[in-house]
Symmetry: C2
Subunit: 390 residues, 2 copies
Amino acid sequence: MTAPTSGTRPDDARRHNRAALLRRLHVDGPCTRATLATELGLNRSTIKAVVDGLAEAGVVTEAVPTRRSGAGRPSLLVLPEPQSAVVLAVDIRVDQVGMAMVGIGGQILGRHSWNLHRTTRLPGEVITHVAESAQLLREELGVVEQGVGVSVPGVVRRRDGLVHEAPNLGWREVALGSRLTAVLGKQAQVGNDAELGALAEHLRGVARDASDLVYLSADVGVGGGVIAGGRPLRGTGGYVGELGHLLVRPDGRDCFCGAQGCWETEVGEPALCRALGLAEDTPRGVLVAELRSLAAVPGRADLLLDDYAGWMVAGLVTVVNMLAPELVVLGDLFAALPPSVVARVRDEVQRRSLVSRAVGGTRMEVSPLGRDGKLVGAAELAFEPVLGAV
Amino acid sequence: MTAPTSGTRPDDARRHNRAALLRRLHVDGPCTRATLATELGLNRSTIKAVVDGLAEAGVVTEAVPTRRSGAGRPSLLVLPEPQSAVVLAVDIRVDQVGMAMVGIGGQILGRHSWNLHRTTRLPGEVITHVAESAQLLREELGVVEQGVGVSVPGVVRRRDGLVHEAPNLGWREVALGSRLTAVLGKQAQVGNDAELGALAEHLRGVARDASDLVYLSADVGVGGGVIAGGRPLRGTGGYVGELGHLLVRPDGRDCFCGAQGCWETEVGEPALCRALGLAEDTPRGVLVAELRSLAAVPGRADLLLDDYAGWMVAGLVTVVNMLAPELVVLGDLFAALPPSVVARVRDEVQRRSLVSRAVGGTRMEVSPLGRDGKLVGAAELAFEPVLGAV
């Protein structure tokens, strides 16, 4: 339904090829010119011109591969220069803010983080602290970021980074994108934390080969990010769906959102604490330690988390039936669930979901990125415009 | 993440322009060469060459518009010739099969339909009858279809038209696409009925201006089709999500799918019959008449359908929170719900959905295409490859 363009000018083509080649190196790592030519569908002279240009600009270097296959002159290995294009990634969580300078290729060059409490969680405080930490990181590492990506556990309008509501931070209608852009002097892209978690798994995690996946995470509340047909799924206005607020239990607890029995009220961090007989505001470290020790006693986790697992299944059946993903990634706190509980949830979803059976079974994996997932996703969000402009 | 192509050859560009122009005329109707040039971003000499070629082939005609604006020579109006490219649309419903020959531009040239009963609902019977009816339509209208599109109320693998399960037809693992292709001698594309309903509303119905929409329909069971970012949302293997099988009621009725309290068991056609005190297998005509007479007595529908509306709300809050659509279209049987019930559902979804509030309110409209929606969608499915090949 899109109108055809009237043709491609040589400059556009060069820029396009350059960005595509950089993106390939950034996401999939160093490779030979020959591989680049094959993967990008470009001839070797075009690849040579682009690589030479990037090497002159100091964005890539070339090296002779140590292992060679076949006879003849080995194809040179092209490597991105991490410091040549750097972004600032900011992961605002309920209990902590994590920041990192990330170089092209995805290398974390340096980090900074601090804890959040009720009094330091105000938007103004967080923004000031982010600006100060960014300055420290710049000085420490001797780099300046070219872009900024921010992860927030809330409902975010992607166009301008307005945080409509981040309940567990107590934020409403915070113009985070424009305020951070103002203090940092670089365009700040803001995204929903679970959407960025999904992006991270898709580019650098367990979902690299999946084009249809759902990433689920619990950071107090429950969020979900969806990649459908290889692209992030967003609704109108760029809003990302809120998987934590699908309704699973008509007689369930009241949710802050105005509904009752949201998935989040049944399987979020406080619900998990309750199931284990812990106070709802048990610190994350204590909760994770408890889950680990529980997993060591056969049958104990399954007994204590029986109801909890049932609500996990209820929400997941709905998610799988609606979206038909090939893979569900459990991130953040969900990644700490005892393996036997994850296995039970996986089996039961398979049994109860019509769509899972139709697609030949939905895989369920625990995130390998752990707590870094959303930070990695925020960096990728920042790299999107940067890679086109290097 | 896609590799750039190495350039566009003149032949490809011509074909591309021709298909884009035909698609524009097909979907949005006749318009002037000047409008085509503006909308497609092509210069007037390119438009002239393409239109002249299509006119020579008899695919379009040109006419002097009766109304003219401004001075100077009026721009000629370009009209598609309906008979020059014809497709066969087949809408397999639970109680009926509807077929039509549809010309380019969307005009229905002729129709045929017959009722289905338990004994005539077998795949082999339906396929034979479709082939016979197609032959009758060809002879009656003096046309031959260039493509075939089929709508089925079931879980369909789009790649090859395998019907994995169509519970209300009693079908399982029916190779409908290849079997129809064999008897009709033309490639038959098979789609899920609700997905095709969504496509029809998006191209020719109430959702022409919406890029993020959900279409909901009840034909015995409940189905949903989703357009996200202007494209049909599909999961792995091309399977479309099954919105009828999101779980809304943990203590609800058993569903054929193996789960309990699916949305379909609470708001499908039998549930609506029960709410009105009718037998579950009340014929559609009787049910719709009952709904109409109910709407005439103020307050009566709201009272009888109070619980029913509550389950509509529960499912819709989940759908809206997960997908953030700007528009929900109620199709098929849902289009016959009394207006006061639709208004209540709309208001309550708005109040209880976090995402609906974030996006500034989710519109909810009744389908204007009525029972023809899925037939129209099946025709569009068939036109997709045909328009590129005319």
